[in-house]
Symmetry: C2
Amino acid sequence: MKIAFQGELGAYSEQALRVYFGTEEEAVPLPHLEDVFEAVESGKVDRCIVPVENSSAGSIYRTYDLLSEHPLNIIGEQYLKINHCLLALPDVSRDQLKKVYSHSQALDQSRAFLSQLTIEEVPFYDTAGSAAWIAQEGNPELAAVASSLAAEHYNLQLMAENIQTYKHNTTRFLVLSKEAVKPQGHCKTSMVFVSKHIPAALYKCLGGFATNNINLSKLESRPTQTGMGRYRFYLDCEGHVDDPALEFALSELEFFTSSLRILGSYPIGYIPE
Amino acid sequence: MKIAFQGELGAYSEQALRVYFGTEEEAVPLPHLEDVFEAVESGKVDRCIVPVENSSAGSIYRTYDLLSEHPLNIIGEQYLKINHCLLALPDVSRDQLKKVYSHSQALDQSRAFLSQLTIEEVPFYDTAGSAAWIAQEGNPELAAVASSLAAEHYNLQLMAENIQTYKHNTTRFLVLSKEAVKPQGHCKTSMVFVSKHIPAALYKCLGGFATNNINLSKLESRPTQTGMGRYRFYLDCEGHVDDPALEFALSELEFFTSSLRILGSYPIGYIPE
């Protein structure tokens, strides 16, 4: 099977792909998130894996926008703990390092560790890209903050692991496919809806879930340009779209929404400690 | 008054600062968001302005984290339409351009325009930083995607304005102060709470707002590591914390939450079309 992801080899998306699919499948790196969605829609690849939210950076709306524009189904989710590593050329020691390159978010997240090294931080456009770059430069004074997978891809030395200040930095990825896949086991269902312009709209939208004992695992309003009183919501709840309780809840929800799209029912992923 | 913002001169945060405070106040650029919060808390500056959500990229959790860690008050909000511009050295023409530098998000958001130019896109760590960099390089083949304010700061030519594909790209900024400021006019109140671990917790939390006719303008759950059934929520609603209807709603909300913090009541900002 071919599975697309956004970024360079060694990106955290590739790491999530490896955890979800194993190492036998073909991982296809593509430069932009749009390309990843199009590759699945056109049949160039069988699946893709895309980031949808991070415990410190929040929801990735671009992914939701592309989910709206492309008729793909969510067939799975993968939580990945983001373990930033300090990478350098082989046989280099810590006191040789003068500059560290990475995405500004990764540098921010690793500041407590990096400040002990008295090393200049240089923001770069991408974590895996910074690893590729220092490997190409061949300069023993340069380091990068990236995944351990990037160290493997670019033959770099893993000088330190788990260097992020807040240890619980987790990204949730979605696995997408053109065709729906019948899920097994305990499921979650994702949907997007716009509530009608009525008083207490959201409260009414949630009534069907509350009275049918359906747990919500995510609820998020999206800033709209149309002003107060109207919202677009992203909602994840427990259960499969064919479960009778969820069917009841959804028919009630539909009454209070001007649009409702089910994005998929899929097995609940394990959230790492 | 001294007002801190994160980034380099010409950042969109500085543009928001200028719209909110005018051009008379002293803008203080600081490299990291933490520095910005600390500058207000320590009294080094009087106010700060920080991005909190973007219509295409979503909420900025880092800002919410720092709001939790620092005892600052939200005293205002400013919506800014993000107008990406193509900048180059003075007297350069479009067909001379070979490479365009910017933050990868800004390049993504301007792709439809950039693809007409047959120009190589080079991701950079920051929009304003890319403008500063091409000005410093002095190479007529280089362009940057950044704000019009960056063109002013770095004496660059504004070759094209409003080049983003989706015209409605708006960022919401918060204005923070150590002391609460008594707001005037129609207000909004922001809060963060964790619901109790009880069935239909969120539905119950929202009941007080629904029955007291209080409109919500934002509601967002934050992924927690503690599993299903417990949520941290960010909620914005209309009204001032001293309004009797909101007082009723908040006392009801408190009953269903294990923690509740009011972040501030402040005048509602104008959302640009």
